[in-house]
């Protein structure tokens, strides 16, 4: 998932296994009002974006995009239940007849396709189509930006340079197709697909909720240009798609509700209007000029007061047309432990920071979110447990605590102390107005409360992660945000802190505390008991905070608005997005 969040961004989809329902936390969830609408009408979406980042199922990697395309066009082997609150995090069969059957200690997974599932051209969806779709993930030079779980999980060897020996379906030279054929097999009747994994993955049936496990008909694949005209397996198909203009979906006559227990297909037509200026987009909905329109983007901060009360709840007249909810993200500052190998100083950074001022920059508690106490959000349910040991945290900064830690650091790590108070640390952040304002708060509060000097390295937003992932260019601290890919912190803790994880900005590999962390995290990945696994993720989150490998930011929120002719909107927790497929246009 890739979404800019207050100048930081991160891929990954979040999901909540759901002991704590979102509605309990926010109290603002919009219920489906008594339905006066049914099938029919045109549902319009407005966005400032010039196009979808990707329409190709293999390249979809934002919760919002997966929720949208998963509702209307692309089907997968399994999917999340279309329900409000925690019930939405339940995995249910989609193209498959069940939620998968594992064997070989969770290293082999089988899924059998339903009868009667078809592409938009009326041809049957077969195991070979799913297998071909998954194979495209390996063509990393063409099929970019998508999740690469297939590459990291399937039992396919790596070449000397670290890349997979299988290069996807397009490569013609030096491609080990046999290795892929061994890792993914189809039954004789072309109905059952088997995935052979290189390690035990107890929740692989969550992994295959990703659209990168969707079927793609080989004959219709056009590589990069498939992004413009993907073939539908869902209730709608593309009539028109033009970037910077609009997308129009019409009903897919080959789709049948009988073979799809998950999706509703209420509107007759769906239009997405791209490139609408932000203020115009908001005004079209605030004035109800487009009563059947839904904004795909967050509400502009200047318009929040029109819709919401000061405490963040929607005003009376907006109760059925607005949401203010926790999104999937946790923002944080990764401390480059390799460069700042001193836990006292890392903690001093946490206590000295003026968190309250930083939170105001992103909308305050009502719209920005709550102080995070780690990298796992409470909405993760059984993977979350409040972190202890942070009781001295004060939103405006705690100079006494910070100074005491610095005093301790003087003797435990004098070199780092000298650097912190002398030349100072380098802080990487993307070059946005908000981050620039944030930089002054960081600089002032750290100097005042702990005597630590900071220098900011502002990086072009589009280049931010390319720079900080380069260990030769990354500074001492880097802003980031993260959301789990599915309802398990297995997509948080290992991804952020194991060396082989996808987002290891804290570079903890040389920390003395890493060896124990690594063995526990790896063991927990294979833990078949979900309750035990959850408890251990929570414990590892505590472990991370004890070492202060990251300085947690906020458990963030997002705001959504729509027109008066729409109903049935609810926040789909596992996708961290509205449940687009349940929106009806009132007649």
């Amino acid at each position: 998932m890739f979404k800019i969040k207050a100048g930081s961004s991160r891929r990954g989809r979040r999901a909540f296994s759901g002991v704590v329902a979102l509605s309990l936390l926010t109290g603002v969830l919009v219920s489906c009002s008594s339905s006066s609408g049914g099938a029919g009408g045109t549902l319009t979406f407005l966005t400032n974006a010039e196009s979808w980042t990707h329409a190709d199922p293999n390249r979809n990697y934002t919760g919002q995009h997966i929720a949208w395309f998963g509702s209307f066009m692309h089907r997968t082997l399994t999917a999340y239940a279309r329900a409000e609150g925690a019930a939405g995090s339940e995995v249910v069969p989609d193209l498959a007849t069940d939620t998968g059957r594992s064997s070989n200690g969770n290293k082999t997974w089988e899924f059998t396709l339903r009868d009667g599932v078809k592409f938009e051209d009326g041809s049957d969806i077969t195991c070979e189509d799913v297998k071909y779709g998954v194979s495209r993930t390996f063509a990393t030079d063409v099929i970019t930006d998508g999740p690469t779980y297939a590459i990291s999980m399937l039992d396919i060897p790596s070449a000397a340079d670290g890349s997979s020996v299988y290069k996807g379906p397009y490569a013609t030279d030096g491609n080990d197709t046999a290795a892929y054929d061994k890792a993914v097999t189809c039954s004789e009747d072309n109905k059952t697909i088997t995935f052979n994994l290189k390690r035990a993955v107890g929740d692989f049936n969550y992994t295959v909720t990703y659209l990168s496990f969707s079927p793609v008909p080989k004959a219709k694949d056009t590589g990069d240009q498939y992004d413009l005209a993907p073939v539908s397996s869902g209730p709608y198909k593309i009539e028109k798609y033009k970037a910077k203009d609009e997308m129009v979906l019409v009903r897919n006559e080959s789709w049948s509700k009988d073979s799809d227990p998950i999706r509703n297909a209420y509107p007759d037509k769906i239009v997405v209007r791209f490139g609408v200026a932000e203020e115009v987009r908001d005004q079209l909905i605030l004035n109800d000029s487009e009563p059947a329109a839904f904004s795909l983007d967050a509400v502009l901060p200047t318009n929040l007061a029109t819709v919401f009360n000061e405490d963040g709840t929607p005003k009376e007249e907006w109760k059925s047309r607005a949401l203010n909810v926790y999104d999937p993200y946790v923002t944080y500052t990764a401390v480059n432990v390799g460069k700042v190998p001193c836990v006292q100083i890392r903690k001093a950074l946490y206590y000295a920071r003026d968190f309250a001022a930083l939170l105001q920059l992103v909308g305050g508690p009502a719209f920005g979110g709550d102080p995070a106490d780690g990298v796992i959000k409470p909405l993760m349910g059984l993977d979350y447990k409040p972190v202890t040991g942070l009781e001295d945290f004060k939103p405006e900064g705690n100079p006494e605590k910070a100074k005491a830690l610095m005093e301790e650091a003087k003797t435990t790590c004098p070199d780092i102390y000298a650097r912190a108070t002398g030349e100072g640390f380098t802080f990487d952040t993307s070059d946005t107005d908000t981050n620039k304002k944030g930089a002054t708060i960081w600089i002032d509060s750290l100097k005042k409360n702990a005597g630590i000097n900071l220098k900011f390295n502002f990086i072009e937003p589009g280049q931010y992660y390319a720079v900080v992932f380069d260990t030769t260019k990354q500074g001492d601290m880097s802003r980031a945000g993260w959301a789990p890919d599915w309802a398990n912190a297995s997509t948080v803790i290992p991804e952020l802190f194991l060396d082989e994880g996808g987002f290891p900005l804290s570079r903890v590999g040389k920390d003395p505390a890493y060896a124990e962390f690594k063995s526990r995290a790896q063991a927990n990945l294979a833990e078949p008991d979900r309750a035990k696994q959850g408890a251990e993720w929570a414990a590892l989150n505590q472990y991370v905070m004890d070492q202060m490998w990251v300085i947690p930011g906020v458990f963030s929120k997002t705001q959504e608005i729509w027109g008066s002719k729409l109903e049935g909107v609810f926040f789909w927790e596992p996708q961290g997005a509205p449940s687009f497929g349940d929106i009806k246009v009132k007649s």
């Binding site: 670290g162 397009y170 080989k218 056009t222 200026a277 115009v280």
Partner: protein
């Protein structure tokens, strides 16, 4: 004249090659890794990055990459392999993975939008700017002149993105005088009314900004010309004030306007980025902006070359036109 033109064209071509190579060099020395960008915005897998570097030719020296680009201009170029093969015929500026299109096609698609915007806005601001400028000069120090000064102040103070946004919010959203355009750009020959509906506010937005400058320029030029000796001679000959203004003053005063309008028009063809962004017009400006944000090198090279070509061509055109407008230039030549 032919020799002069041939020489100018030869120099122009050399400049274009220099511009294209300079853009390549700039990207070579920037501290970014194009292979890392192809791996996805937050990709951290060195194996994937290295594989992409080889497959996309980013491991080749910058000279070789530039030569491959030049070859594509004349012979076309094939990208990818297997089912993902894409051939971009000559003149190929490359393939954009951001636009999912051959760059030449992306530009050809954006060009009519920018042309529609630039031509309409040019016509509007010339009518408005020249007309108001003449009136202000003719009635210097009177109400019309004061009115034009206020117009100039407002026009030059308002940034185009604000003018555009105000027009959109009030004319379309709040007052609903114009409908919200159904698509974001409708070609003229597909639906003239829809085209007009799409273009009228962007024209006004641009025209307001430029007309203010032209009003001031024309007013000053006309006032200056009116004080010339040959005007006094014309009046002494007994010519009417109308003839003096139309036949003698305007011809002399407006000649420099040709250069100004030519270069402004060229600048707009390079892309009216803010206006296109506010009104969501898929023209060259937005194409260029998107390319810069995404570091889409093929599009950046192509749009830079196109912008340079337009400026060079318009300069040439203005020089030639000048000879026709101003007899003194012909004599000097």
């Amino acid at each position: 004249m032919i020799n002069y033109l041939a020489r100018r064209i030869a120099i122009s071509i050399a400049i274009l090659f220099a511009v294209s190579f300079a853009v390549y060099l700039i990207f070579a020395i920037l501290p970014f890794d194009p292979a890392a960008l192809t791996c996805g915005k937050s990709c951290n897998d060195p194996g994937i990055i290295e594989a992409n570097r080889k497959r996309l030719g980013y491991d080749l020296p910058i000279w070789t990459q530039y030569l491959v680009f030049l070859k594509g201009l004349f012979l076309g170029r094939t990208f990818g392999e297997g089912a993902a093969t894409i051939f971009c015929p000559a003149p190929s500026f490359g393939y954009s993975f951001q636009e999912h299109a051959c760059v030449t096609n992306a530009i050809l698609e954006a060009l009519p939008v920018t042309l529609s915007l630039a031509i309409g806005a040019l016509a509007l601001w010339l009518i408005l700017g020249v007309g108001l400028g003449i009136v202000a000069a003719r009635y210097r120090g009177r109400a019309a002149d004061t009115g034009s000064t206020i117009f100039v102040l407002i026009g030059t103070s308002l940034p185009t993105f604000l003018t555009g946004l105000l027009l959109l919010v009030f004319v379309v959203v709040k007052w609903r005088i114009l409908p919200y355009p159904s698509g974001n750009y409708t070609p003229l020959f597909e639906n003239p009314l829809e085209w007009l509906n799409t273009m009228i506010l962007p024209w006004i937005t641009l025209a307001l900004a430029y007309a203010a400058l032209y009003t001031r320029f024309v007013r000053n030029a006309v006032i200056e010309t009116l004080s010339e000796d040959f005007i006094r001679t014309a009046r002494a000959k007994g010519l009417s004030e109308k003839v003096v203004l139309r036949k003698h003053t305007l011809r002399a005063a407006l000649a420099p306007l040709t250069t100004m309008a030519g270069l402004d028009f060229a600048g707009l063809l390079g892309g009216a980025i803010l206006t296109e962004a506010v009104f969501n017009l898929p023209g060259l400006g937005r194409l260029s902006l998107g390319a810069v944000v995404d570091f889409d090198l093929p599009i950046i090279v192509a749009t830079t070359i196109l912008a340079a070509t337009i400026v060079i061509f318009m300069n040439l055109l203005v020089d030639v036109l000048y000879a026709f407008i101003d007899p003194r230039v012909r004599v000097a030549a």
